[in-house]
Amino acid sequence: MEDEKDYALPGFDTEAKDNSRRNFLKQSTLLTAVALTPGTAIKAADMRLDEKIAEAFEKMPIKLEVNGVAHSLSVEPRATLLDILREQLDLTGTKKGCDHGQCGACTVHIDGHRVNSCLTLGVMASGKKITTIEGLAKGDELHPMQEAFLKHDGFQCGYCTPGQIMSAVACIREGHANSEMEIREYMSGNICRCGAYPNIVNAIQEVKEGAQAV
C-alpha cells in the first residue's frame, strides 16, 4: 500500500484526521518495551514515528520466494499467507472462500506441497518456496492442467478454480489420481459451489493419462 500521506481524494478536505496512530502509540503496551516515557511517546506520535515503531515491534521481517521471485517483507505475525499474497503482493489469484480451512479456495504449494494458505501464517512460511496459480504457466504457455480445465470446462464462475488447479496438480504429483474414485476423494478439499466436479475429474484424468509432465 502506498504512503497514506500522499493520498488525497479529489474534492475532499485533504486534512483527513488520523488520530489512530497517535492513539495507538499512547496505548501500545509494546511501548513499555522501548521504555519511552509517555511524553516522548506522544512526541513520537506527533512526529508520526508510530508506524516505524510498530514496524519494529509488531512486524517481523520475512522472506518469501513466490513463483520464483524473492520478496523481503515486513509483516505482522498474525497476517496469514493468504492475506499477504492478496493484500500485500497483489497476487489475487489465490482466493479466500472461507478463511478457516474449510473450502480449499486458498490452496497454494509450499515447497511443492498443497496447503491452505488461510491457515498458514506468513511468518511460518518464511524461507519457503511458494507457488500460486500465477506461477503455474510458463509465460504464455499454460500448464497442462490449466489447458485441461479449459478444455473440460472445469469451472463456471472461476472462483474456486485456482485452488482446484493447484490441488489437481498436487493430486497427480502425490500419486492420488489413479482412478476416478481416488481423484474424487483427493479433490474433496476443494469445494466448488458452481458444481464443476465431474469436469474437474475429467480434466485431471486427461492430464494424468497424457504424456506431459505435471
Binding site: 509488531e58 517481523m60 505482522e76 505475525p77 498474525r78 496469514t80 478463511d99 478457516h100 480451512g101 480449499g104 490452496t107 506441497h113 498443497r114 496447503v115 491452505n116 491457515l119 498458514t120 501464517l121 511468518v123 511460518m124 490441488s167 498436487a170 493430486c171 502425490e174 492420488h176 474424487r184 476423494e185 483427493y186 474433496s188 478439499g189 476443494n190 469445494i191
Partner: protein, 327 residues
Amino acid sequence: MKAFQYTRATTQQSAIDAIAKPGTKIIAGGTNLIDLMKRGVIAPDKLVDINQLPLNSISVNKLGHLHIGALALNSAVAEANLVKDLQPLLAMALNAGASPQLRNMATVGGNMMQRTRCAYFYDTTMPCNKREPGSGCGAIGGYSRMHAIFGASDKCIAVHPSDMCVALAALDATVTVSGRKGQRLIPFTEFHRLPGEHPEMDNTLAPGELITGISIPHNNFAKNSYYLKIRDRQSYAFALTSVAAALEISNGTIKQARLAMGGVAHKPWRLFDAEKALVGKPATEESFKQVAEIAMQGAKAYEYNKFKLKLAPATLVEALKHAAGLV
C-alpha cells in the same frame, strides 16, 4: 485476531521453557490453533513455532514398535510404507480426516491436541463451559446432533473430533511427552479425558509439557483392520460416528480384537468389553451384532443425537465386517 509475538524454538528445551509461561502456545501445523485464534476462542500473547524441532521421524524398532514423531505430518504418516504395512488402521483413519491440504499441514501432536468442533465452543457469544468455565453448556438443551453419547457430564457433552486418535486408542499407542520435569509416557487411552467437572481440560498433558511422539506396539492386526467413518457427506466432514476395528483372526476365529469409536465421546472411546467378548468368537456378522450390544451399554443420547444410538452400533458392525473381510 489479537496481535501476538512469534518465535521459533530451535531446541526442545527452549520450546518447553517457552510454554511454561502463561499466554504462550505452541504452534505446529496451525490448522486448529489459527482457526480458533481467528474466532477469538483463544488469544495467546505468544506463539512458539516448533516446526524446526527434529520430531518428524517415522521409524520401527527391533521389536516392531512403530514410533512417530509429534511433528510428522498427517499426510506423511498416512503415506509412509511403514505405517501402511504395520498399522494400516492408522493410515486409514488419517486419510478419513480433514482434506489432503489440511493433512499436509496437520501434525500428529496437533491432531491429538485439537479442540472440539462443538459450535457453541466456537461462537464466543454463546455459553460454553469448555471455553469459559462456569458459563454453562450451550449444547445441552441446544443443537446436540454432533455430540456425545458416552461419558458426557452435565457440564459438557462435546466429542473429540479426531479420526487419527480413534485408531491410536484402538492400537494401544503410548504418548511420549517432555516437560521441565523430564520425559513421561502416557497410555493413549489415558491421554484424553472425560469432561466431568472440568471440560476446559481436554487431556492429561500437564501445562508446559510438549508431546514429542507416539509409539504403537507390534501387533498382528494389519491384515484385518478397518476404519469406518460415517458423515453427512462423503468426504471433508467430521464424523457422526466412526469405528476403528482391528482383529486377529485365525481359522475364522477371533483371537484378539481392538475397537474404538469416534464421534461419540469427549475422548476416543475404547470398547474394552466388546473386545473381550469378541475373543474366541467366529468372525461373523452374528458375533459382531452381539458385541455391538455390549458396546452400547451405558450410552445416553440428547435431543438431537438419538440417532447415534442406532448409528454407532451399525457403524461398529460394518467396520468389523470390513475388518474381517466379510464385505
